[in-house]
Symmetry: D4
Subunit: 169 residues, 8 copies
């Protein structure tokens, strides 16, 4: 099956941060591939991959990078497909550098940015975009939301336990 989503990260060291995005796609049964491609260290391979991927049917690009995080923007320059940018927090500056490097794109080439290290949300955004043209995926997304709401509500049950919380007075 052709991948619908290409997950690209700027460095193999970001793998653990990016993994939840891939896990979400797998949970939803979205065909995907993931690659390490650097906007700065492998500019030609990046351009070749993005153009070929678009030609072969990739519909959403999900790009993670840290620091002066150019990968999402560089990919967005090479394709008209929606590009999701995932800022990765580095050792300094708390992720503000990667967030601003991704979100503040110039007019004409947007990147759909999610929160710092928010890989799970990056995956879910890809799902939401693809669900526009896929009724089954749309149904799965609605079920996911409902289950998620249940999990939040049930997670508060323990608080009601006399020893730890709940109504008192």
């Amino acid at each position: 099956m052709q991948p619908s989503v290409a997950v690209i990260m700027g460095s193999a060291s970001d793998r653990d941060v990016v993994a939840p995005a891939v896990a979400v796609l797998d949970e939803f049964g979205v065909a995907r591939q993931w690659r390490v491609l650097s906007a700065h260290r492998t500019p030609d391979a990046t351009a070749t991959f993005v153009r070929q991927a678009e030609a072969e049917g990739v519909r959403v690009f999900l790009c993670a990078a840290g620091g002066a995080a150019h990968l999402p923007g560089v990919v967005a320059a090479l394709t008209v497909r929606p590009v999701i940018g995932l800022p990765v927090r580095g050792a300094s500056l708390g992720g503000l550098d990667s967030l601003l490097s991704i979100v503040q794109m110039p007019p004409g080439v947007p990147v759909a940015t999610v929160g710092v290290d928010a890989a799970r949300n990056a995956g879910l955004l890809a799902v939401a975009i693809l669900a526009l043209g896929d009724e089954e995926l749309d149904a799965r997304l609605r079920q996911f939301r409902a289950r998620q709401a249940e999990r939040v509500l049930s997670s508060g049950q323990d608080l009601e336990h006399p020893a730890t919380g709940g109504a008192r007075g």
Copy 2:
């Protein structure tokens, strides 16, 4: 024709900032509507509108807000459709408040965030998402990109003018 995109802003005072997003949608021939709805001042009207809009076929929500900019996240909580968040700069803090209030969403409910006051990019992101299922729109987006590249390149012609720039030495 049914609107494909609902543009919502938290305050009528944001209208001029948001207008380029609407202009982009119009340029691309994307049916849209725009509304002033406040996550905080009209929570019920917001919920009613979002749910009805989704039911009636809105495919992308584009939400602009400033300060503690909750509107995009609140809308994202009410729909499974992709929500684009447009941070609006206020008088203080340079727009950092609205950017962080929009992009740093908790796991489970993503918002596709664009740059501060980047209304044009918000509109283009909506177009890119819709173009996945609309060949004509896809073609227009490719033409737009090509024309945009030409405009950038021609904008540099003046620099070459002897009096102001160009190769010298």
Copy 3:
């Protein structure tokens, strides 16, 4: 006894950060309840709870959230009761994101914001508000302040110990 304060947190993972707020309320004998409700993952349950809680006599809402921390603002949109917002620090950005997401509310719907992770102060602010209409609570608050001053002053006694501090020369 009817709870006077509803403590709501956006995620069960914030429980340890929020616990000191609940502990303060218990120390002062203020009836309270606490719940996990997410502005984004359980918007309907949040609205239902807040409106019912206000109807049943809750006088102050104390809401804790991190990241794009919308919970306090969303609750404030649903009630005229005072809402105390407690920003919770996440892994990135040092809590600046949650602080700005809570404090920078638009005109018309204020949130009484305390410091990042300042759960104890959130609880004390609720006590101070309730003490306006409760003489016994007012007296307890005055005693608390007096004891607190004594504790600060006595905590400096060790500094005077020859080995570690005190006047020298």
Copy 4:
């Protein structure tokens, strides 16, 4: 009539920023007084005023200051009444200095902080606190919220005008 709210600002130059807070109190018929008192330039007058004001029945203190904005915290140290802190933006640092100087209070002495230059919200927060013990004020606050919602919704009517906005396509 005894003032219920004391509005204090650190410098007469902040008067225009603070005025909307006073205007809100007047709109709601809340008795108030306002004073210029500086935590740093008039520490004794500040202490004298706060203690006397509390003794004479002031129920809420609303304190505005910029820069290293100590006034709200200094007042909070002198009274058990709720203190609302209003950060005023200065020429540099976009108001971040006054916001952090007010909101990041140490454990034991909270300040209920509103947004930078958010005088109107400071006034509304005072109203919400006082409305807990005043049914008439509570009713006025509910009416205010309802009218506010109407104003937001009607402010969007113009957008629907063919020339400028509304559904198209």
Copy 5:
């Protein structure tokens, strides 16, 4: 001997951060005392101490505090003596909150601010101020500077070791 410097910290928990300031004063033979006094939790004891200390001959106040760090400014409001402010880093915001809360004082009441957690420099600044009127102290400060320069230069000797650094090529 009368203390020349009063070292005041807002919380006993800041003791380890402040200790190097006291150590510097002891190294230089400057008589000093140190106290825990909180601008917010013990406002009266703070005022009493500062006024009495000034009356008894304290010439420099060195005040350490974190978060909304008001102590240095509050002390500066109570004395005409030079006040040195030492910002202490808290768990969130990297010390920016305490730095801004101390340094951005309003016109009329300055605080001589040093770097975040820079207790040693706070002590040295007190020494430099006192040395203006004390030739022996002035001589000791010059010796300290000379020894410090030697230590820096000799600390680089290891780099020259073949295995780890030095000139190569």
Copy 6:
């Protein structure tokens, strides 16, 4: 008369920002000189001046600079006299760059930093330091503080005017 204070600024363009510091010294009758000397563009002239000034009896250096504001630190490296650092706000970054460049000095060489553009406070800090060894100056400083308190209190009189403020209700 020998100058007691040397006021140095990194660029003649900072003159208007620095002028209030000089004005304060003149008001207090403190002998001073001011110079334009750049840590980066005139390093030798800076070193020569500072060493000669110290030798000739300058007791306090007051140094203003913007951007990567090295002047105060560079001067502090050349003298044991107290150095007051005055951060000047530039067009970008709101003065945060100059503030951090001045205040975050390494251990061993402190700079007494005041707020961004806070020239008046820089002058007053110099006065407070010099007043330690000058009873007349000390008296003038106390008078200044008293007059300042009066000015603040009287500045609030207008607020009490029926049309604009004061107690109502």
Copy 7:
């Protein structure tokens, strides 16, 4: 004459900010060219230009961009020649976004970054690099530095004028 420096800006709207860099190169007689090329809107033209420019003898690239400023990094990925990055301040965030987007490059591909809007310094850095292999340019740079020092020193003459500054007392 072959250009030694290629000045590239991401948008023609940055022309006035970039012009001082070109002016410096002209003052020093360094052959240069300047172009508008966007990393995002004209990725192919950018790559073609950079590779051809390097082949034709360009020795230093000077790249200016604002917002998510990728141009310097993208150029650095395409050439081994030194790339100077000039961050341009946008309407929001005070230039912090462009600074971080340029300076925080990943390991392996450096960009020599200068200050926000510091076009003159960008030009001077290019001159300093080229002067390493050009004795005449080296001599001119030394003359420039000497004249610059004189200008700074003479700019302070006015201060000495009795009416406005100079030694007094």
Copy 8:
């Protein structure tokens, strides 16, 4: 062999952060020396070293410093050679202080700044500058870039392993 690069750090405690810069120079066979010299604690030794080093043929200065990081700027004031500034992250403020203290140099004296703790890039920038006049070094730099690209691409191979990543669907 004469060193081409002088690596200077402000404190021996920065040695581990700086070491990768020296390692890069060694990998490329660039003759270098490294020294501990403090702009603030050893201003004279710094000036003597820089001027002598330039006279003896050092072509690039690479300076690392943290906090109010003046070393690179101070060195740049003493030489016309290119100066590379390496900001070192301290315990507070995430390195923003050292970055701004280095990059925001005043007009006339640039510093070529790299990212926070980006020692490897500082070394590579020195190599790129020196390679302009050294064909062998230029060749080595091109080989390095090619090998680096290969390493990035091969680092992504593991992702393709069925258990952990790769195309699926």
